[in-house]
């Protein structure tokens, strides 16, 4: 089982308390009526499908209830970091440097 650190509870807890919620940092257009069909398609359906570090959303659904972001290596399942929703993307080079 994965152990995930919730940045709101500041505790490392079993995966069962959490729910995966898709790729992170995909922002809805501020002015939806001006978005082209191609951009809508990309927003709705096109995902990076990363092999390696992946920015993704999780929700501590059976705990504090909050959504937060994580960087997980999709090859090793190792969580490089978790951070609160709304915070800037952490720099990948510093994260992978720490992991080695």
């Amino acid at each position: 089982m994965l152990l995930i650190r919730c940045p709101y509870c500041d505790e490392t807890l079993p995966e069962l308390e959490f729910a995966y919620a898709g790729e992170a940092h995909i922002a809805r257009a501020l002015d939806p009526s001006s978005v082209t069909d191609e951009d809508w398609r990309d927003f709705l359906f096109i995902r990076s499908n990363a092999k390696g570090p992946h920015y993704e959303r999780w929700r501590h659904v059976h705990g504090c209830g909050r959504f937060f972001n994580a960087v997980r290596d999709t090859v090793t399942d190792r969580f490089l970091t978790t951070y609160k929703a709304g915070e800037a993307k952490p720099d990948l080079e510093t994260l992978t440097g720490d992991a080695r």
């Binding site: 089982m1 509870c9 807890l13 079993p14 308390e17 059976h62 705990g63 504090c64 209830g65 909050r66």
Partner: protein, 178 residues
């Protein structure tokens, strides 16, 4: 035999040398949601202490307030002592009566913490005495309060209670037989 939620009545559920499980009398429960900027104004208006850290419990008289998340509190008070709910609060918030949603069980005894590990993915010992957390018990969401070293309270949605009770009763007997 199938147990229905309405078959469960306050009193002893299971007892062994290892632990005891009791169902508690009904209490008034409220869910409070408010964002951080409004926390102080809501706390002052309700005349309750709203703890800031997730898992912390604050007591105001007989009323207990548990912080479930950054913007969510669970308020538990004896039935009939819910004056705070009728006070006027000007700050944006949501205060909802959820008294009938859950049943509460008290789990005590020298192996109370071991009994909870049957269903909790989280280590019950990570909850310090005097704190509480929302977590899982065998896939049902519960609120777990730790009132003392070997004294837990579990709030569980009433439809899930029969399942949890069966598991707790079984575990109670198994731990004593070890």
């Amino acid at each position: 035999m199938t147990i229905h939620p309405h078959d469960l009545t306050p009193g002893k559920i299971a007892e062994s040398a290892a632990c005891k499980v009791h169902m508690l009398d009904p209490v008034a429960r409220f869910s409070l949601r408010a964002h951080e900027p409004e926390r102080k104004a809501v706390a002052d208006a309700l005349e309750l202490d709203l703890p800031w850290y997730v898992g912390d419990v604050a007591k105001t008289g007989e009323t207990e307030v548990l912080n479930l998340g950054p913007d969510e509190w669970l308020i538990v008070a004896p039935e009939g002592q819910t004056d705070f709910a009728s006070r006027t609060v000007d700050a944006p918030h949501a205060l909802t009566d959820i008294s009938d949603r859950e049943l509460t069980f008290r789990i005590t005894g020298p192996r109370a913490s071991d009994l909870l590990t049957l269903g909790c993915p989280r280590d019950p010992d990570s909850i310090k005495p005097g704190q509480g957390r929302r977590t899982l018990f065998d896939s049902a969401t519960v609120v777990l309060w730790r009132d003392g070293e070997n004294d837990f309270r579990m709030d569980i949605w009433r439809s899930f209670a029969p399942h949890a009770v069966s598991l707790l009763a079984l575990g109670c007997a198994e731990l004593a037989a070890e």
